[in-house]
Symmetry: C2
Subunit: 187 residues, 2 copies
DNA sequence: GCAATTCGTTGACCAAAGTCAATAAAGGAG
DNA sequence: CTCCTTTATTGACTTTGGTCAACGAATTGC
């Protein structure tokens, strides 16, 4: 649990009472490799903190899988859109390896928001943060070519390149595996 | 000001005391047509509610203007990324017509967050909402062709089609004016 | 109201990514 | 270890949007 508290600390300092309340809401779960944490059509009523393992977040559009995000140990994993809107997910969340997560559900989180102003603030800061993440990804798709997006991964030394099969990286970059292969070939 | 309170009401009910505090922070400004509300390189330390007029939010990439968003009366206008990160903006905000806005700055907003739990919540709900907006736009760029993005505008009866010159709509859709012209011509 | 700019359309050509197919390389299951 | 499936690469060809240029239509400024 300490990893989670460390994660929160970058946003706000929770008092022991607040943290105790938060902890009390988290329930541990395991997901086996290739297991689905969320299926298309389900409402995502949880946010989960990844203690071990990794997930891919993908949707099926026009008959093929398209990966929107990867989540690793130390990240939150959820379909935030479904969670916020309470509408069915159009994405799947699948474990890439055996995983251990700490889950909190919507109702519990709302109670924490009501009870503790600092947790309400934490929620705001996390929402703001997620805004920045998706805004950056939008920029990458609007202003960069596939080659430039790939080069960003290389430049940032992204763990995707070492831990994720290339055809999934291609999907994440919004291109076909053949194209990524060619981008890598012309150096 | 009532339009603003109505806007807030879709998220939370502010008490009269909270609303009075909020109102006290808003300052009215006018921006002439083609005037810049924000320049590239400036830090965006405000959020503004548009009473009258419209704005375009654009950046210059690889030597040409690229429009990320339009804002109309009843919307908030800000560079939310710059506002949240306190880093210089890489976008301009330009008035498309003479405009009247209500501005609040970062320091004032933070004081309101500290003072009123309900306003803290309002901030969270607005951040969550902006997340959804940009996530939807990301989907449009990841999963739809330019033609499909244009057809969405038509289907939703977007006011962009009636109020914004076509070359700006093209930029917003991420394509060249020639391409939008051809999309409209075929069928 | 007229001239000058800006905007929208169209055509010919180009570049980049997709498609389809063949094959090589890598990984897993038994 | 070996076979079988999955993944990565390469080639030939197609598709889509971009580029450059010309021209007509619409705005705007004086």
């Amino acid at each position: 649990m300490e990893a989670l508290r460390t994660y929160f600390n970058q946003f706000v300092q929770l008092s022991d009472a607040e943290w105790d309340d938060f902890k009390a809401c988290m329930s541990k779960e395991t997901v086996p490799k290739k297991g689905l944490l969320l299926e298309e059509g389900e409402k995502c009523n949880f946010i989960a903190f990844i203690q071990e393992g990794a997930f891919r977040f993908y949707t099926v559009k026009k008959g093929e899988e398209s990966i929107t995000a990867f989540f690793f140990a130390g990240d939150f994993v959820t379909n935030y859109r479904s969670f916020l809107t309470n509408k069915p997910s159009n994405h799947y969340i699948e474990a890439l390896q055996d995983a251990v997560i700490l889950k909190i559900n919507l109702q519990q989180l709302q109670q924490l928001y009501n009870k503790h102003k600092t947790i309400e603030r934490l929620g705001r800061l996390i929402a703001e943060n997620l805004y920045l993440v998706v805004a950056n990804r939008l920029d990458a798709f609007m202003f960069e070519t596939p080659t430039e997006r790939y080069e960003q991964l290389v430049k940032r030394g992204s763990k995707l390149l070492s831990e994720i099969p290339q055809y999934m990286v291609a999907s994440y970059l919004g291109i076909k595996p053949e194209t990524l292969s060619r981008i890598r070939a012309r150096k």
